[in-house]
Amino acid sequence: MYYRLPQFEYLRPNDLHQALETIREGDWKPLAGGTDLLLDMKNGRQSPKKIIDISRLSELRYVRTNDSRVLIGGGSRLQELLENVIVKEKLPLLSSAIYEMASWQIRNIATIAGNLCNASPAADSAPPLLVHGARVKLISSSGSRTVPLSEFFLGPRKTVLSNNELMGEIDVPLLEGYYYRYYKIGRRHAFTLSVVSMAIAVKIENGIFSDVRIAMGSVAPKPVRALNVEKELIGKEAKTVEITKAIDLVSEDISPISDVRASAEYRMKVTKFLLKESLQESLKYFWK
């Protein structure tokens, strides 16, 4: 009753093929869950003239797995993923992140591709997927291309997705024998945007950091990997002294800003602490 949606052309294709044929030409905006898009349209941040409703395309709703990867259909609802056994068992970081996202009502309509394509710096599903080195499959009527998620985001609300493409699938390589930790720091304990989010996966073999993967949200223009910290640690002895040295490098990986939610200083301080805590805990985890 309060807000006026601007006028737009609306089309709901029957299947994926029709959807891709439609968006081949013209400036179509895909509507999936609509939990970001409709709000943007109501407050005037976005005013697409043509909307293609892909929310009912069942071809895009699935979770499949084999020994090495999990394939997630882009149209999968967040709540479906939260309740999915494969996701719970094989992708605990993603499962934890979704658990802390939004509310039950919103998770039931919001899609994972929508969360990624909206490209908010605070997109909570991104850090776990970045840690896994996930790749996204962008499909169009003329075929598909696969892009590492780390290259998918260009900046706030900007991605490499073309007008004639949809995010069809997220391909998540599995990690074996890792220590995992997910953090979400918000302004209250539920149903809130992240001030800092972090996903981390660590592997220690023979007392050496054989792999370290760290990704963060809300601390840069887009969700990012802390590559400098990772590089500093990989191959080093799994010891506190190395961790202490490495975490200061995070200031080269992230560029937090001050806004109404928190100051840059607070975000940096908390990031460093979360890094310290999770890396220390990884030592204990492998020492057992």
Partner: protein, 776 residues
């Protein structure tokens, strides 16, 4: 009934010991409809033949209005009219305490979000489109956002006619503070700051006005006081109040916000209905609600207190600055309340308290649960902890040493009567919480996660202050079928007083079965019962129906005595059974009894009225009668602080309340839980942030965060100290605001205890916690 008889009968009921519905966990009458979604709120009465109203608001914090151009808006299909201050037929003056506020801005705007015109259209899309096409040109004026700056500047005046930016001043004086401080062993001085808070009611403001309904302009209004709304609409339209009818359906929360905005939004809808002759509907979006309606005031409080070596308070000197924003609204009353409560519920022999209500170019301040009291209790209670610390005392002991008891004198020189249960409340809840052990044990915690425990004690005067008239009124009718119709002006705003406590009081006094009692509430068709604010919905609001029931009961007793062949004093009417105490074999059922009464000339309707006796306050001397009685609240909060992230968890809360007779424990528990959590929001996360242009930066629920159920602590069952108040219905005082008032104080004290640093500024965000920890 003579006043002597009334007082004698009220005393009889005040001392009643046995109850069959009062004090019981009774389900309220509106539970099922609300649970099933059948209950209707204002928006549910919208029909598409109504005109839709959209407000055009100021984009400047301070500017002259040069011109308003509606030529483009007129081209929008469905556009009906654009009404500005010029179209107001009556007075464009809605200032509540001072005549400083227009309904629609005239000549100048004083805050971003101030309503300038009302665009009217046939549907809401056209209204929004047309509102976007209204071109207002402004001549910007210099603006001031900081209250301390505004207080000292006279070159920029927000209200030229006031001659300064100080809207109002208050004072309280007692004894000689210089002498008091010279006799003090320890003196503590600090500055405390609190932030604006939005009410965030579930239901934003909405109103419907229908012209010519049975000859009256009828308003479905989100008001906390139907008769006040009627008066304000009458003034704005220049019509007699008798031609305006106000009906308040179920409301989705108010917390004081609708006490201020309810009459104004009603006047907007009524203005459009009156000028167009058609039904009109207005509803604020959440963003509009944030931008337009009054907030809890931001405060700066300088507080100095002194105590002797035993911990006895010797003096306080307090300066309270309230940022009232663009208009005074109820600010002077809010400041007055803060001033008179500045000591906390303690005996202080020497006091000097000064209050300043300051205009700034921000959204204005207004009523909010606690009404000026939470911030000053936060300051006072922080000071108590600091004095205890310097004296090496347990914070509980210093409080018990100074706590008010029956016969104590307040800082305005008022001697308190018998209804002062705060000492017992504090002692019993401290024991229940295991205060002494926890306070000692938590002090030794030293790791990343620290625990703390904190006390907040508060008092809150009931009814209006000083000699400001306050009364209660209500009508009770026993119908021929034995059902009971109660007519009262109190509104149902979620708190449940008309749907629970009023029914219980009437049923108890009449002896009628509870399910036969129906309350018709929230309308100018009822007697003016006063506002549903100031925790008065039951404590004051139900006195009228209580007195009416007492009078009816006397008539029923006399009639029953004849039927049962006994004396009126011997008659028992209990849950619909009328019998003789001496001879219980004689009895008659309620329905039959009422049928006989109708056929025997018994008057079965009574109107009750009670005028609360007040005293005088001398503004010059800062001395005198402040409030007729006080409710008291103690909360003890336990917190855990993560010293690495600054995140605070409130773990457990122990409440105790001295609010006289508890009519319905479930309702009181609900008020305590809700009030505490809203106070926790003020303490930890809620704050409006303004940019340099005076715009609210966080005017939506993404960035204005309030606690969720997952943030709420375990709130223990409250301890009730039933210190009955002689004029309250069966001795009830007020509850609604109580748990909010000491909540910030108890949380701030607990956090200070946990981290060993003194909290002086709210909201206590994780960021502020880390800054405190960094301090040496």
């Amino acid at each position: 009934m003579s006043s002597f008889d009334l007082e004698r009968l009220m005393n009889k009921w005040l001392n009643a010991e046995e109850f069959y519905v009062v004090g019981k966990r009774i389900e309220r009458a509106d539970t099922l409809d609300k649970a099933l979604g059948k209950a209707k709120f204002i928006e549910d009465y919208y029909t598409n033949d109504m005109l839709f109203i959209k407000q055009v608001t100021s984009r400047y914090p301070h500017a002259r209005i040069a011109s308003i151009d509606e030529s483009e808006a007129k081209k929008v299909r469905g556009f009906v009219a654009n009404f500005t201050a010029r179209n107001i037929p009556g007075e464009n003056q809605v200032g509540y305490s001072l005549p400083d506020q227009p309904l629609l801005a005239e000549r100048k705007v004083r805050y971003v979000g101030e309503p300038v015109s009302l665009v009217v259209a046939r549907d809401f899309e056209a209204a929004i489109e047309a509102a976007n096409q209204i071109k207002i040109s402004y001549e910007p004026l210099p603006h001031i956002l900081d209250p301390l700056e505004a207080k000292s500047r006279v070159d920029v005046l927000i209200h030229e006619e006031a001659g300064s930016n100080i809207a109002f001043r208050t004072k309280a004086r007692k004894g000689d503070v210089e002498k008091g401080f010279s006799e003090s062993h320890v003196v503590i001085e600090n500055v405390y700051r609190t932030s604006q808070q939005d009410h965030v009611y579930l239901e934003t403001e909405a109103a419907i006005a229908i012209p010519g309904l049975e000859g009256k302009l009828t308003i479905l209004s989100p008001s906390q006081h139907p008769h006040l709304t009627q008066r304000i609409v009458s003034r704005v339209l220049g019509l007699p109040a008798s031609s305006i009818r106000v009906v308040v359906p179920y409301l989705g929360g108010g917390f004081g916000g609708k006490d201020d905005e309810g009459p104004l939004i009603s006047a907007k809808a009524a203005l459009v209905a009156y000028l167009t002759g058609r039904p009109a509907f207005i509803e604020y979006s959440r963003e509009e609600s944030f931008a337009i309606h009054p907030k809890r005031e931001a405060t700066v409080i300088r507080y100095k207190s002194g105590a002797d070596t035993d911990g006895r308070l010797k003096a306080i000197e307090v300066e309270i600055v309230h940022d009232t924003g663009a208009y005074a609204n109820r600010g002077p009353f809010i400041l007055w309340r803060a001033t008179m409560h500045a000591s906390g519920p303690y005996f202080v022999p020497n006091a000097k308290v000064d209050g300043y209500c300051i205009y700034t170019n921000k959204v204005y301040q207004g009523s909010f649960r606690g009404f000026g009291n939470p911030s000053v209790q936060f300051a006072a209670e922080s000071q108590m902890d600091l004095l205890a610390e310097k004296l090496g005392m347990d914070p509980l002991d210093i409080r018990l040493k100074n706590i008010l008891t029956p016969g104590s004198t307040t800082i305005t020189g008022q001697v308190l009567d018998t209804s002062v249960g705060v000492k017992e409340a504090l002692e019993s809840v401290a024991s229940k919480a295991g205060w002494r052990d926890k306070w000692k044990t938590y002090s030794t915690y030293n790791g990343r996660f620290r625990k703390g425990i904190g006390i907040g004690v508060a008092w809150h005067g009931i009814s209006t202050s000083r000699g400001v008239p306050d009364w209660s009124a209500g009508t009770v009718k026993i119908e021929p079928d034995g059902s009971v119709s109660v007519l009262v002006g109190i509104v149902e705003i979620g708190q449940g007083s008309p749907t629970s406590s009023h029914r219980q009081i009437v049923a108890e006094v009449l002896g009628a079965p509870l399910d036969m009692v129906h309350v018709y509430f929230g309308t100018t068709d009822a007697p003016d019962t006063g506002a549903t604010h100031a925790s008065r919905g039951t404590g004051v609001g139900a006195i009228g129906v209580y007195v009416a029931s007492i009078e009816l009961r006397e008539r029923l007793n006399s009639f029953a005595a004849k039927l049962l062949n006994t004396e009126p004093e011997d008659v028992v009417i209990h849950d619909g059974i009328v019998s003789s105490r001496r001879d219980p074999s004689k009895s008659i059922g309620w329905k039959e009894f009422i049928k006989k009464a109708y056929n025997s000339g018994v008057n079965t309707t009574a109107s009750g009225y009670f005028f609360l006796p007040k005293g005088k306050f001398d503004d010059e001397a800062g001395q005198g009668f402040a409030y007729i009685s006080y409710s008291y609240m103690v909360v003890i909060s336990e917190v855990e602080v993560d010293t690495e992230t600054g995140i605070i968890k409130v773990l457990r809360v122990y409440p105790a309340i001295s609010a006289g007779k508890i009519i319905n424990p479930i309702q009181v528990e609900g008020q305590i839980e809700g009030g505490f959590v809203q106070g926790m929001g003020l303490a930890l996360m809620e704050e409006l942030k303004f940019n340099e242009k005076g715009e609210i930066m966080n005017r939506d629920l993404t960035d204005y965060v309030i606690p969720t159920s997952l943030d709420a602590p375990e709130i223990e069952k409250p301890i009730f100290i039933e210190d009955r108040f002689k004029y309250g219905p069966l001795g009830a005082k007020g509850v609604g605001e109580m748990a909010l008032i000491p909540a910030p104080a108890s949380i701030a004290n607990a956090v200070s205890h946990a981290i060993g640093k003194r909290v002086t500024e709210l909201a206590l965000t994780p960021e502020k916690v880390l800054k405190l920890l960094e301090k040496g």
